[in-house]
Amino acid sequence: MMVTLEHYLVLSALLFAVGISGVMLRRNLIVILMSLELMLNAVNLSFVAFSRYLGSIEGQIFVLFVMVVAAAEVAVGLAIAVSVFRQRGTININDINLLKW
């Protein structure tokens, strides 16, 4: 039995779902950022799988760009988390509702 594209896509979908549930369920800002990373990595996995099974290198190049954007997003997000913690003394997103309503 071979490992097919379907295997990788299902694994990628499951990882993405774990990331989504993390974003929906957790109240800790840092863990939410980590779940976002998880979702981006799930997408990366399906990109690389498509690149392998379609025999084209473009998927891997796109993964590089996704990594760049993810790195920028994490840096800015963590800076915001530190800044919010300085001002509010909490990273619970239930308490950070300045822009909510």
């Binding site: 071979m2 490992v3 097919t4 594209l5 379907e6 896509l9 694994l11 979908a13 499951l14 990882l15 779902a17 774990v18 990331g19 989504i20 549930s21 929906m24 369920l25 957790r26 109240r27 800790n28 840092i30 863990v31 980590m34 779940s35 990373e37 998880l38 990595n41 990366n44 996995l45 690389v48 799988a49 392998r52 379609l54 025999g55 084209s56 290198i57 891997q60 190049i61 590089l64 990594m67 760049v68 954007v69 993810a70 790195a71 920028a72 997003e73 994490v74 840096a75 800015v76 963590l78 800076a79 915001i80 988390a81 530190v82 800044s83 913690f85 300085r86 909490t90 990273i91 619970n92």
Partner: protein
């Protein structure tokens, strides 16, 4: 052999991803996140994307996760009262919702996957060039402009991080 390896790696990656979401202490989340990254890098090697596997380990397991650890350390966790997690009802609701998302994705996967059956050997992957050669050639010819834009994005992120992270002095 490849199949066994895939299943072991898939189980390890998924389990550590679940631990990332459902463990309570942020430091454990970060450590399991590193395990997830390493599992994904090994899956990349299984998919013959060796360069990306190395980048994954260096950038994610190395840089990004160290950044997370630093921030957790800076926030001085002893003084934070951990956010009270939502009630079991909401947990169940959230898990069911994300499972529904997976179920929604399955028809798409079923549609796509049968049309691509074997490993593609046509085109540029078939040559004797290594993975890194191929990526570099494409990146610096066809995708040169996006590459430059990506570097600009990183510059913007650096400046933004410095500005946001600066200590505000009121006077």
């Amino acid at each position: 052999m490849e199949t066994i390896l895939f299943y072991v790696l898939a189980v390890v990656t998924l389990l550590s991803a679940v631990f990332v979401v459902f463990l309570r202490r942020p430091i454990h989340n970060v450590l399991f996140m590193i395990l997830t990254m390493i599992g994904l890098a090994t899956l990349f090697i299984l998919l013959h994307a060796e360069f990306l596997a190395m980048v994954q380990i260096i950038v994610y397991a190395g840089a990004v996760m160290v950044l997370f650890l630093f921030v957790i350390m800076l926030l001085n966790l002893e003084e934070i009262d951990f956010p009270r997690e939502p009630r079991p009802l909401r947990w169940g609701f959230g898990v069911i919702l994300s499972l529904a998302f997976v179920v929604m994705l399955f028809p798409v996967i079923k549609r796509i996957a049968p049309t691509i059956t074997s490993v593609g050997q046509s085109g540029d992957m078939a040559g004797a060039m290594s993975n890194l050669d191929l990526i570099a050639r494409e990146l610096f010819t066809t995708y040169l402009l996006p590459f430059e834009i990506a570097s600009f994005l990183l510059l913007a992120a650096i400046i933004g991080t410095v500005v946001i992270g600066r200590k505000l002095t009121r006077n």
